[in-house]
């Protein structure tokens, strides 16, 4: 185990801002990209369905 305590872990030897700023950005962007991918897929399916229904009328 590298860390004496959880506060030592979050402090990162005084570099907490830089380390967690990096990892935070990584997770934010991964979650955002996943969200937009899932939403985009739903929207594409909806759009194609709508066009299909419109053609059938």
């Amino acid at each position: 185990m590298q860390w004496a305590s959880w506060s030592a872990f979050w402090d990162m030897g005084g570099y907490g801002l830089y380390v967690w700023g990096s990892y935070g950005a990584l997770f934010f962007l991964i979650l955002a990209e996943t969200f937009f991918l899932v939403r985009g897929r739903k929207r594409t399916l909806q759009q194609i369905r709508r066009m299909k229904n419109w053609e059938q009328q």
Partner: protein
């Protein structure tokens, strides 16, 4: 073998194949990320020079590698698409671009957050940093060009051309630390010599690099499925598919 390649070059077959592959790559990415982060934070020791700040390397290097790899793959698909006019090639490079842009941005962002405590500056106009910034602008520019041209075929071809012209930037990024005097350190890992870092650090970085590959594949395949549906919506197979789901 040749037969199966041609078979999967058809958007219809590829749509199904991609759908089967996505869960494997997505779960692979998730598991490897957890494992890689565990190594990065709980197994890798404190660096004797940089203290804990060096732990940024575990995401900075994989992000920078991916931003270049993805660009090379996009250039490959663009060349194939321009040469043989295959439909799926252009769709593949479109599906890869947003993920490439995310990694390019992350390499710049984590680099800035690492540069500040180590060099005393968020940013310097050094060869490595500047060429990496150009890579990010290329990704953004390519996506803007695609969306600016309404005609799909022209849009595909213009984008592919820009991707191929911009490909010159990738070797410039890679060799920038050798060709110019830069503040950025040279490669700690290369194919030619043994790596100049502790092996547990290297293992953590490689695990996260593979996780990044899996993530990129999963997102690109998900995106390409959407593009296939949009482009093939007039075909019978898409109409039949929509009745099932």
């Amino acid at each position: 073998m040749a037969f199966s390649i041609y078979k999967y070059a058809s958007p219809m077959t590829f749509y199904g194949l991609a759908g089967k592959l996505i869960p494997w790559f997505a779960w692979g990415a998730a598991i490897l990320t957890v494992l890689g982060l565990y190594i990065a934070f709980f197994m890798a020791p404190t660096d004797f020079q940089q203290g804990e700040a060096y732990r940024i390397i575990f995401i900075h290097v994989p992000a920078a590698w991916m931003s270049m790899f993805i660009y090379i793959i996009m250039a490959f698909w663009s060349a194939v698409g321009l040469a043989w006019n295959t439909r799926l090639s252009f769709m593949m490079s479109r599906a890869l671009a947003p993920t490439g842009a995310v990694f390019a941005f992350l390499s710049l962002w984590t680099g800035a957050l690492w540069g500040k405590p180590m060099w005393g500056a968020w940013w310097v106009w050094d060869a490595r940093l500047t060429s990496s910034l150009i890579l990010f602008f290329l990704y953004v520019g390519i996506m803007a060009l695609w969306s600016a041209i309404d005609d799909r075929r022209r849009s595909d071809r213009a984008g592919a051309l820009l991707i191929l012209v911009g490909a010159i930037n990738v070797p410039i990024i890679y060799f920038s630390v050798k060709w110019w005097n830069t503040l950025h350190q040279g490669a700690s890992v290369s194919l030619m010599k043994s790596p100049s870092m502790a092996s547990i650090m290297l293992i953590g970085m490689l695990v996260l690099a593979i996780a990044a590959w899996f993530y990129a594949i999963a997102t690109a395949l998900t995106r390409v499925r959407g593009i296939i549906l949009e482009r093939e919506r007039q075909t019978e197979w898409v109409k039949e598919l929509l009745e099932k789901i």
